[in-house]
Each structure stands twice: as C-alpha cells, then as structure tokens.
Amino acid sequence: MKLHYYPGCTLKEKAVALDISTREAMKRLDVELVEPEGWTCCGAEYPLTEEKIVGLAAPIRVLRQVRDEGGEVLVTTCSFCFAVLKRANKALRDDPLKRKRINAFLRDDIQIDPLTKARTTDFEDYNGEVQVLHLLEYLRDRVGTPKIKSRLKRDLKGLAVAPYYGCRLLRPQEEMAFDEPDAPRVFEDFLEAVGCSAVDYAFKQECCGSYLSVSLPDAATEASYRVLRAAQMEGARAVTVTCPLCFYNMDSRQAAIKEKFLDFSGLPVLYFTQILAWALGVDREVLGLGEHAVPADSLFEEVPTTEVRT
C-alpha cells in the first residue's frame, strides 16, 4: 500500500536515522512511503499572529501537492512538521478568509517538472482536503496493535523506555487533537505494542528548550536535563522521541548537561522508529546508530535476535 509521507528538511540532513528507520519499519508493515513530488519546507513554525498569514503558504503548498497526487492522508514523524501542517490545514478548513488569501497567494506558483521541463501554473484551490496524521496516530488507528504484534521479529523483553512527547505533538489540544495533553497514551501504547515497557515519569510533556537551545543554550541544557533526569529516576534505559530537535537537545547536548549537572550519568535517546524497526527485524546497521552522540548500540545488542512467536 502506498502512503504519502513528508520527511521534512531535517530528516534529509541531520536526522537521517529517523527517515531510514521510518521507511524500513513501514516496509515491514506493508506500507510504501511516497514523498510528494518536489516538496518544499513546511515553515517549521505555525504563525501565531493573525497578520503573519503568509507563514501558511509553505505548509499549504505541500498539502496541495499531496491532494493533486491523489493523496488523502499525509503522515509525518517530525513534531515540528506535524504541528505546522496540521494547524495550517485546520486553519484553511475553518477560516474562509485565510482560505481565500492563501489560495490567492499560491495561484502564482509555477512548478517545473525536473525531467520533462513541463510547466504547471494552473493549481486548484486547496481547502483542507488532506488529512494530516502523525506516524504514531497512523500506527494506532490504521495499522493497529494486532498487526504490529503479528510482525514482530525480535523480543525486546520489556526494555524500559521513557516516551517523550515534548511540546508540539499535544498542544494546543483543540487544534492538534492528538491525545489528552495531561495524560496521553498513544506513545505508551506504541511502546507496549512493540514489546517495551513504557516508563511513566513527570516530564514527558514538558519542553526540552526547543529553539532556545541556539539563542539561550543554558536554558535548554537545564530543560533537557529535567526531562532526562526524571526519566532516569523512574528506571528508564532510554528516552524515545519523535522530533529531531528534541533529539538534538537531549542527545547532542548531553555532554553539556553532564558537565553542568553532576548527578546525571547519561541516558541514550532513540527515535521511536528505531525501536519499531528493530522490533520488526531490521538490521542494526541501517538504524543510523552512528548519528547518536550518546552511544545507544548496547541497547540493540542485548536483546536476542530470535523470531518471536505470536
């Protein structure tokens, strides 16, 4: 089965591990991911004032392309892409004025086919037709736990993993409609479906410092420390994330965290799709473990690689 998938710019550069593990895992669940032709940046941030409406053009251009290719659903993994695409889509569905203005703006688009050099200048208005889903939602609602379980190839033996939602997946609830912001389950249920045990801890929906890690690194160091430490105190062997920025703040900056907070001894950070791919039998070499600043290899060694009986 084919499914539209928007990787976003980071997955082609800094978070290749997230991209590859997503593709490999979905292949094993009979889903072939296709990228919208010539996709462009989603804009990363949803504009929060009524006058920065032009920030909606980038995500809507991506969604319009998916619709024009006949796609009904678009899945993403990066939390930033997901939030912008989902919120922009809802804004166009709900607000006739935004719909009119953005479509008027996008009518000037010209698309040139890289092979045939054919030009497309005629685009139909986009009115929010595509449904934007996070891969966790897709796995829960469209694939389903029984199917995931039936395809497992490795027994993860209840490896204690702390799910980290961060800021973008859950809030604002009215727009994201992803899960209950104060007591989410979707990540926990995913981890249990693939054979891990989900660690419950206090900071799973707190902020890791987000983009402040560039403008104010100390604040992000502290915010990320709070999350990692809380997970470790509850017995987690790893923290798992959906977002390359969460990954950067908690993995790449962990040396800075350890230097500042001496009670913290280090904790691997994994993309949720690395765990999924591993459980489904994907080879260790293609999980992108070389991208990790905090070595995570040992987690993938200790589980026996025998077939799981289902």
Binding site: E45, P47, T49, C167, E206, Y211, S215, A219
Partner: protein
C-alpha cells in the same frame, strides 16, 4: 511595583492591537498565575507570563516591549493548556514581538549562527528560530 497608570489613546491602541494580532481577549485573565507556574522558562524571565498579560491590560507598553521574556518564550503552549480562561499566552507574546520596532534590530537572526554551529544544528531549529525572533 509602583506604576503610574495612564489611560490615553496610546494605551487603548496598544491593547486593541495586541488583541487584534493575538486573537486573545487579554481582559479575560484574572491573574491566577497558572501560566507562570507551568512555564519551563519562568526562572530565566524578568517578567512572568501572567505579569506580561497584566501589564498589557494596564496598557504599560514600554514595560512590556522592554521585557526579555518576549525572547525566552519557547512557544511550548504549556500555559495555553493550563489557563482556566482559555488564553494562549504564546500568541500574546508573539503579538508583542510583532509590534516591536519594525525597523529595529533582529532579536536573533541567521547571522548569529556560526558556520560551525550551523553544521551541527538540525535544520528545523534554524528555520524556527529565525521565524520566531527575526523580523
């Protein structure tokens, strides 16, 4: 803090503009402080989120526009999910950033990311940060 209140047209315009840009009713806030209690960046801020909104209600634009808080908000929406009055403080912060001197210096622009750092950063953070803090 002792403040001298003015209620002239300048104050009224400021408040109206914030409401227009953010789409939030700032007078709905009754100062319960839940936004600040949950804010992950509160310890770094010179004015807490509930103080920002209080100063907006009072039309004290200079104090709001001067605050470091505007550039410490990570738009994490924790305050939004906790406010009993349904106010999205992240939108109020963005509205205030929007009306800061449009010709002024960027609070943070692409030029401040060194080439070495740019090599290490995920692409999304550079786009996000410039969208938030550059003009």
């Amino acid at each position: 803090m002792r403040v001298k209140l003015k209620a002239g047209p300048e104050q009224r315009t400021f408040i109206d503009r914030i409401e227009e840009l953010s789409g939030e009713n700032v007078f709905a806030c009754y100062q319960c402080g839940r936004c600040s209690a949950g804010c992950p960046m509160a310890s770094e801020m010179d004015l807490l989120p509930n103080q920002i909104i209080r100063l907006v209600q009072m039309g004290l634009l200079e104090d709001v526009l001067r605050s470091k808080t505007l550039f410490l908000c990570a738009s994490c929406f924790t305050c939004e999910s906790r406010c009993p009055k349904g106010i999205d403080m992240a939108r109020v912060m963005e509205a205030v950033r929007h009306i800061l001197d449009p010709k002024g210096k960027d609070a943070f622009g692409p030029g401040e990311i060194s080439p070495e750092l740019a090599k290490e950063l995920p692409q999304q953070v550079m786009v996000a940060l410039c969208r938030k803090f550059a003009k």
